[in-house]
Symmetry: C3
Subunit: 350 residues, 3 copies
């Protein structure tokens, strides 16, 4: 169950080249392509002629031509032309609101009339020269909700990510969960510790001594339906942590967008926006590679967890304080689903 | 849904060697083997002893011996012998009418009493020294009906087969569909065009100038349950097309036999019988290789179409004039299925 | 359907190293690990916190630590600790009676209160210097019952295992089936024959002339739920067969333990315990390799048989005299399943 009247990340801009891209999102077969002036469009991946996959077709003059018999559809799902055919009476296919913004392509799989691009979240690091960003995409065989849980409880770093970002102090520090508007925030601070390897590297990059003791913080911020942005960083110990003078801290945002494919699989767009050495593209590559390897460690755990949820269906789970962020996030998602179902349908409105 | 009281191509003769061949046809697990004097037999692929697959067994003195415990079945599905056992009372398994003819092995999966070998279609090119034939077999994950549709509307050549047999003139020429007896014929003629690469090669082979303008024709002929033979060729422009003097034309038959495996998969026997340079076996190989590559382009399209038919179940499709051949072919198949279901069963006959 | 209140082989001791082992047994997801002093424990492979697979975790101080968030479970399925959590109220997970004995780890998947280690079968060759043992494990996609059938009717050796242990005399010699207590015994004796290759090798190893004629025997002994031990050997012809003077015979036990994974797949622990040249470890390796190759021949046959049982569901099978052992074994298993279902539940006892 996923909310439909909301924006999800559909793909990254580079995934749509001169060829269309077929992708299943929220159970819907969708084709994305670039129409006139490169503007992205999203349609049902279904040719109204014989049901061929439009994603196997090609883009012609800003429209999408089916690769089977040449029916051309425009970006609104209306048939434009077909050799030797009059297409006026052809049934339309559904188009989806879609926007390219902040380094992602966003899609609204639900009721198009309700789609407001102004509600696409702002990503402050995009187009800001003080920040650098690198990321990737994983296709994961588990519900997107298990990934939300994962990211809202970073305790797992001490177990799953030993030797990189994990350290013992993580699970010895309490977490707090609170709301900031619609955002669920789970935070953890570790005081007067030695920085783990990743942050030692960042401190050196920032010109700081990587051996001095630091305060470390993690603020996981969930926004429905599938965004978890995590403020992470270290500051010289006792200087105010996340609020320390910029010269005495180094920080970044772990970027996570989860988009359901089916009930038991999702697209995971991950990355890191960093506020240090933004011009060092070799560093960007190196972080991307490291983060990709670290996040890959989660895959086996999450896919086995998904398998177990089905094998042990109905089994009660615990909801501890460390789970509070995930629990609240899930409740928000549940409420959205319920609210959507309660919407009057056109027929009922009468 | 497939008609059962009809002949399908089960395999090519070379597929049954000294070992039996297991193949699922119309949902039935069948074993084919060569009995006495090389005569092909077809049985349920199920040993009546413990249910082993007879196709894993071996042929002994014209009978089929189960490879598990040595039960020997004859070509009628009757137990013949088993070491230290009296097999008289053993239950029979079903045998299927089967005939080797015209370069194929034909099977009748339905009521054996109704099987008349005289109704196996004649293939005029077989055993005719003026013709050469080469072909292959693809196992495709879509309904055989989608392949019938594909072959009855060659418009797709302009899109799927660009650069080989496709050319723009195809979808700029109107098609006609008519019946010839039980045969559905969809035809297209292109007048005064430049021959595409394949036909230029054929023209040279025939001793014609490959640069002169030609008339090209395509006559797709569907015969139930799964045969589409396509008359194809070119003649010097204005000389009568398909009826031109043999010295001024070059032609061939695209051979297609589709045999259902399940509702959503089929065996596709494809090939080309040509009426030029019949003795050039290197040419036969070259055409087979080229045709195999071209027909392979259809696979991705058709398998995605099958997937879409299921994902968008219930969605209405168009039936344009170019689809008339496929629509009529499907109607014939539907009628056959309905007629078979209306047959009185033995019990009802009483 | 499998009996649950009984001992099955779960794994071999070497499969549980310092890492836990996840294995599905009788439809249950189970994790096996070595706790204090190397003692094996078996739990549900399900962390009560969030449902992660405990088999991806690690062993800490004799307990099993979940690899996701660090919950530590003891060998009884009770939560022991978790960083910054009070675990007293955490729900327990199920533990399974498990014993390491005679070279195997045995598990009781049913009602733990009924588990009596004294009922684990004795394997006389283990820890006996006069015997040597070598074996392996296959994961097979068929019901364990088809493997029981296979081993209780060695007629198949004449067909499936031609050239190794098969010989024509096998299916020319009658079999007898009788009960010895709870054991089903199917036996076959072949008199005055030439030994097949394997036994010629064994005769040479024993210092016997491998060309003299012999009496050969096979006694397949089924004990519920999944054990078939087969006495096999040859003796100089006319010396009493299995009862001949030890100097004039050579013998071994084919060891087979079948453990259901699902209704249509099982774990097959195979091996051979031999009573000749026990100190020759190269011979052990050689036999293991040969037996592994021979038993591998059964896989294709049995997996196709499983497929056929489903494709031809409801089809009646034969039960010949050679099948009597398998038939009786299956009846015992059926009776066990029925008896377990008739057990009063705790609620019913009231």
């Amino acid at each position: 169950m996923f909310p439909m009247n909301t924006w999800y990340v559909a793909c990254t801009p580079d995934e749509i080249t001169d060829k269309p891209l077929g992708r299943k999102i929220c159970g819907l077969q969708i084709v994305l392509y670039r129409g006139r002036e490169g503007k992205v469009a999203a349609l049902e991946d279904f040719c109204p002629h014989r049901g061929a996959a439009l994603s196997l077709g090609s883009v012609v003059d800003g429209n999408l031509m089916c690769g089977y018999h040449g029916l051309v559809m425009d970006c609104h799902g209306k048939a434009v032309s077909m050799p030797m055919q009059r297409v006026n009476g052809f049934p339309c296919i559904r188009s989806y609101p879609v926007e390219e913004r902040h380094g992602y392509v966003w899609i609204w799989p639900g009721d198009a009339a309700k789609a407001d691009p102004a509600t696409i979240p702002d990503l402050p690091w995009s187009n800001n020269p003080e920040w650098a960003f690198g990321g990737g995409l994983y296709h994961i065989q588990c519900s997107y909700r298990l990934m939300v849980d994962n990211l809202m409880d970073l305790t797992h770093e001490a177990y799953v990510h030993v030797g990189s970002i994990g350290q013992n102090e993580i699970d010895q520090s309490p977490v707090k969960t609170h709301m900031e508007g619609n955002q669920v925030v789970t935070s953890r601070e570790m005081h007067d510790i030695v920085a783990p390897p990743f942050w030692q590297m960042a401190m050196r990059a920032q010109g700081l001594d990587d051996q001095v003791r630091v305060d470390r913080w993690q603020y996981s911020r969930f926004t429905a339906p599938g965004s978890v942005l995590i403020d992470v960083g270290v500051a010289l110990a006792g200087q105010g942590g996340i609020n320390a003078d910029p010269a005495q801290r180094v920080y970044a945002i772990v970027v996570d967008f989860m988009t359901p494919e089916t009930e038991t699989s999702h697209w995971y767009f991950w990355g890191m926006a960093r506020h240090f050495k933004p011009d060092d593209s070799a560093l960007t590559d190196s972080i991307r590679q490291g983060q990709g390897a670290i996040f890959n460690q989660d895959l086996a755990v999450l896919e086995a967890q998904q398998h177990n949820r089905e094998a042990f269906e109905g089994r009660r789970l615990l909801a501890l304080n460390i789970d509070a962020g995930g629990v609240r996030a899930n409740r928000i998602l549940d409420d959205m689903v319920v609210a959507e179902r309660a919407l009057p349908t056109e027929a009922a409105v009468g």
